[in-house]
Amino acid sequence: MNRLAAAAIVVATAFAIVVPFFLKPFGIYLLSLWAVLTIAAIGLNLTLGYAGQVSLAQGAFIGIGAYTTALLTQAGVPYALAFVAAGALSFAIGWLLGYPALRVQHHYLAFVTLAFTTLVFLVLRNEEWLTGGIYGISGIMRPVFFGWSTAKPLDFYFLCLGVLIALSLATWWMVRSPWGRAFVALRENPVRALSLGLDTRRYTLMVFAIGSSLGGLSGALFAPLVQFLEPASFGLNRSFDLLLMVIVGGSGYFFGPFVGALVSVLLPEWTRIAEGYYLLVYAALVMVLMPLCPAGVIGLLERVLKALNRRPGTAASARVVEQ
């Protein structure tokens, strides 16, 4: 990683830690939402950007994680256990879902996840005895860890930030390991990868399951954040939102999800004048962006930096931009 990127990360992290102290509760809430959605976006980025598969179920996995956590904690299970359960359940479901869908060549996973999201929404809406149906689950408490309560906005934000950083580090480790190399092979040349003994099916399935479990973990934080769950929050629109997030941020780039989630969280605020036009604007943005710069914001930044580097005489040209 080159020095420019490292500096940017340090600055951004400092921002993320310091800025909330100057924000009103709603601002802190938005920042927390950003952190939580970024986790889900990182998961989807793995599936889409690294394994090249379209998943329209990430919203459903957030829902699964959220409801699981809410139900378990309200039944007295400690939050940490519920958190792990949410991730594990999402992983298992992702595996079961992906197993048949990824055995074929076409983009079947897209359709399967589309149908799955519908199914999850129906279950959440119909099974009132479990999920409260359309009335949802309310009064979800924020977790307490060894006496430290996260009920206040700032405290809960730092919990979200902490989890985000931990999961980012874990994902970074994975991408730097031989698995990351396998992902490159999977994406660039699956035929060659197969001939080198790389089980493309296994890796794709694993990536999808991990991506889905990150969705579940995101949901585990989402529940105590919003403190009220209803089925409509976890339908197709949420899945689209996450997909667009990953695309706009830059699919396949490590920091794409962070940028994409920021755009997604702030966009409703910017389009506040045009109430409810948020998804329309977002979709239009993506449609325009795709042919111009399919690599998203981070991809654009990369191109700009490369172009700057080639100009003679600038200070930047002295530094080599590594991949």
Partner: protein
């Protein structure tokens, strides 16, 4: 038993509509590697063209023609040149994502600029029932079935009995060879887009009296079309027809005999079963191993 027959017939009618949509979808996939995720929204939209034309004073028959013309223009020509061609350069995945964004855009546009409420849509024939072999069947179902059958037969004639149609098929099966044979491949591909536009417009006009015109129609219709196309064998036009009919009938039967609360989940179950047992669909060839 009579009840079953009625369900079968109405299922056949909706299935015929699904078949039209699935055929268009398969055609696009076959000829230009276009997986049109917005196909459901493509079926949702023309109904609103009809309503807008009628609001401007046009009689139903004229409004339908206008809607079909607008569909050919927007969902055929504009779709191909503005969205598909620029994206195909980048690959199939970016195109899939663009069509997902397009679907969302269309849905939200109708919701924001027309109405989020379901709009009543005029039936093609007066409300009434027909006595068929002892069962009472709505005239509407019969008309829908008739129109759908005529369309499919017409399409079949076009594809198999005309030189144009055979050129389109050749383009679908082997574009390089088609080019060598002097077939104007790019024009043939354009024609498939236009054919799809006509198919979705007709499907829209047929199904909206039943579903009402609502911006969310695309979701169920799209899913039904995808499942139908996969059942038939993604690449096969005849398969799409059969697939559509199967989905329509099973959907109707399940709603009546099984829980209607989970009706919309039925396509998922069919989908999973087909993918598990016979991923190449009923008519598709077993895929050459590349996974």
């Amino acid at each position: 038993m009579v009840h079953f027959f009625q369900l079968l017939l109405s299922g056949l009618a909706t299935g015929a509509i699904y078949a039209l949509v699935a055929v268009g979808f398969s055609l696009l996939w076959q000829t230009s590697q276009t997986i049109n995720f917005a196909q459901g929204e493509f079926v949702m939209l023309p109904a609103f063209f009809v309503l807008m034309a009628m609001n401007a004073g046009a009689p139903l028959w004229l409004a339908c023609l206008i809607a079909i013309a607008l569909s050919i223009l927007l969902l055929g020509v504009v779709f191909k040149f503005v969205i598909v061609d620029p994206m195909l350069r980048h690959g199939v995945l970016p195109l899939v994502i663009s069509t997902i964004a397009l679907a969302l855009f269309m849905k939200e546009a109708v919701k924001d600029f027309y109405s989020s409420q379901a709009q009543p849509f005029p039936a093609l024939v007066a409300e009434g029932d027909v006595n068929l072999l002892g069962a009472v069947v709505s005239a509407q179902s019969l008309v829908v079935l008739a129109v759908a059958i005529v369309t499919v037969v017409g399409l079949n004639l076009l594809l198999n009995k005309t030189r144009l149609g055979r050129s389109m098929q050749a383009t679908a099966q082997n574009p390089t060879l088609a080019r060598i044979l002097g077939i104007p491949v790019r024009r043939m591909v354009l024609y498939t887009f236009l054919v799809n536009a006509v198919l979705v417009a007709i499907a829209s006009i047929l199904i909206s009296p039943i579903y009402l015109a609502k911006f969310t129609n695309g979701e169920t219709l799209g899913l039904a079309a995808f499942v139908a196309a996969i059942i038939g064998g993604f690449n096969q036009v005849r398969g799409a027809v059969l697939g559509g009919v199967i989905v329509g009938i099973l959907d109707n039967l399940s709603a009546a005999y099984l829980s209607s609360q989970y009706r919309a989940a039925f396509p998922l179950l069919i989908l999973i079963v087909v993918i598990l047992l016979r991923p190449q669909g009923l008519f598709g060839r077993a895929q050459e191993r590349t996974v």
